[in-house]
Structures are given as C-alpha cells and as structure tokens.
C-alpha cells in the first residue's frame, strides 16, 4: 500500500472514530412480556417503544458523538414499563438509580419492579 493510501485511510479512520456505539440492555426477568416506552425532553428525539418477551432481553444500540455519550445524558425524561396488568413510570432520577453501568448500561426488570401493589 502506498503512502497516499495509508494517509487516506488514516483520515477516514480518524473521522469515523469521532462517533461511538453505546447501548442499554433491558433484561425482562419476569414471565410476562413488557412494553417499554422511553421518552426524551428533547423534542427532536422520538420516543422509543418496544416489547421484551418474558425471560428475554433486548439491547438499545445507538451511535453518538463524544459530547453526548449516553442516553441518560441526552435528555432522557421517563421510562414506562407496562405488562398489561401494571404500568410503572420511572422518572429520570429513578432510572439513573436503577440502570447500572457494567460496560453496557443495564436495566433489569424483575417481579418486584413490576408490582403495582407496593
């Protein structure tokens, strides 16, 4: 490979390395499917809505620049969890306590979290 090609490739790699892939894993540790809705205070970010089957998980993967490296910093407003018999509204403050970072951010939804009787 000649020097021009190496330089060109280096430029591309430098530019593309300015974005990062981040993620939140949502683990449904209950038997029932849970519909998850995430809303943001920034109006230009549409709500995220998806269903995680019982005893399954899913991952929100997204690319961001270095200035806004995770969803929690990007105006996350509320997380709503709904399993048809119980709907839980988790504010940003509550989400920050319950979403743990271990590489990925991870939210584990168990029976206790989905109980509307406490």
């Amino acid at each position: 490979m000649n020097k021009v090609n190496i330089l060109f490739a280096s430029i591309i790699l430098t530019i593309t390395s300015c974005t990062y892939t981040k993620g939140i894993a949502v683990v449904n540790a209950t038997e029932r499917p849970i519909e998850i809705t995430i809303t943001f205070s920034h109006s230009d970010i549409s709500p995220i809505n998806f269903i995680v089957p019982g005893n399954a998980d899913d991952v929100l993967m997204y690319d961001v620049d270095s200035r806004s490296s995770n969803l929690l910093r990007m105006g996350l407003n509320e997380i709503r969890l709904d399993n048809k018999s119980c709907t839980i509204h988790m504010s940003r403050g509550e989400a920050e306590k319950k979403i743990k970072k271990n590489g990925l951010w991870k939210l584990v939804v168990g029976n206790e979290m989905m109980s509307c009787h406490h």
Partner: protein
C-alpha cells in the same frame, strides 16, 4: 437485470448494423468480481452465489477463529439470501460464503474483550486495506446478543464490497446516500428505522427519528433486492 441496477447492457448491433455478429457490449465490470461466482439454475428459478472471503486469524485463538468464521459465513448467507424478481420471474437467490486464500475479500478477524468499548468493524473495500470484522465479546451482556450482532455487522461489512464494486465510493462509503461519505454520520434527510417490515442492511438510519432495537434489527434486516442484483451483476456467471 442490468437495467434494474442502472447498468443497462448496451446492444451495439443496431448502431453498427452488425446483427449477424451477436456482439453485445456489456457494462464494464459486469461479472468480473473475482470473489463472487454465480450459478443460474433457470429451470428451478434458483441462483446460487458463492462469495469468497479470506479470513485472517491474526492473534485470536483457534476456537474463536473457527467460531467467527462460522458466524460471518452464516450471517452473510442469512442476510443476503432472498427472492428477487427478474423480468417478471421470481428467483430464489442463495448466497453461500466460504473461506478462500485466493480471489477473496481479505478480512481480519478480531475479538474485543473490553466491556467498555464497542469496537467498530469496517470494510473500506478499496485501497488495499483488509476489512476488519470485530466480535464484541466484552461489550455485550450475553453470547447470544454478541453472536447476533456480529452476524449482522459482518453481513453489512461484506455488503460494502458489493456496493463498492457496483457503485464505487459514494454508494459504499455513503451507505446508499444515508450518510456522508467521509463523516459516516447520518444526513439530516435520513429517515428513522421503518416502523415495521424490512430494514435495509446497508443503510444507516437516524435512530433519533425512529429507533430499532437489536432484536428488531436482527429479525428484520435484509439485503435489498437491488443490492442482491448488484452482487449478481458483479459475480462471475457459470
């Protein structure tokens, strides 16, 4: 089919008044990609496309090398095999990826174990640079997701070679117009993920406009018909 991908075959017989010579000018580059070979079974309406990748082990273990090769091969087979329509006829296209030391797309295989780093795979498909397919073992919280993500990413990165061959840098690096060629960032005009149905495996989408989870992308991503036709356009035809 050439016309479908905006590379029509030009028939010079009319211009040259040489109809007796059966001389047809085909667009430069058609059916000359060394890493793809297509077999058309007209009677069965099946097209089999064998694509060759030269998997390089680098410093990963034998077990990881074997596993990653398997995931790349099955990922390409899964996301690039589909039905296409040619002149009103439906053909099933089976794409079969395999390792080859020669006439193959060079691919460096890596395993990233850092749980805080999602390493980005890439395939410039030019400049004599090998593609890098990176398995994010540390970042994902379980093996199933890491495997699925790697299959999806590998099929996408393989597609860069297809787009590069058929349409050059703007088509390949620009993700079919969905990103800047050099910035790789989505354009303001790029839509969010489709609400339902097929997700174009070669496009980027603006997740802030509409999101798709990993499971949705694993389930609904597929190579678009035009891109499979681009693959066949580049492949040697048996």
């Amino acid at each position: 089919m050439h016309k479908d991908i905006d590379k029509p075959v030009k028939d010079f017989r009319k211009n040259w008044n040489q109809a007796h010579r059966r001389h047809i000018k085909v667009h430069t580059g058609a059916h000359k990609a060394t890493w793809a070979k297509a077999t058309v079974l007209l009677d069965k309406k099946i097209i089999v496309v064998h694509v060759h990748l030269n998997f390089k082990q680098n410093n990963i273990s034998d077990a990881d090398y074997k596993k990653l090769k398997y995931l790349v091969r099955t990922g390409i087979d899964k996301y690039w095999s589909r039905r296409i329509n040619v002149a009103g006829n439906s053909f099933m296209v089976w794409v079969k990826a395999s390792h080859s030391d020669v006439n193959a797309i060079p691919v460096d295989l890596y395993v990233e174990t850092d749980k805080d780093n999602y390493a980005r795979s890439m395939n410039p498909a030019t400049l004599g640079i090998d593609a890098s397919f990176i398995y994010n073992k540390g970042w994902h919280s379980n093996t199933k997701n890491a495997d699925s993500d790697f299959q999806l990413v590998s099929a996408h990165e393989f597609g860069h070679s297809v787009l590069m061959y058929a349409g050059g840098i703007p088509l390949s690096w620009g993700h079919k117009g969905s990103t800047g060629v050099l910035s790789q960032s989505v354009k303001s005009s790029t839509p969010g993920y489709p609400k339902s149905g097929a997700i174009d495996i070669m496009k980027y989408y603006d997740w802030e406009k509409n999101f798709a989870t990993l499971q949705r992308r694993v389930t609904d991503s597929i190579a678009m018909e035009i891109d499979v036709k681009r693959l066949i356009w580049g492949a040697n035809i048996k």
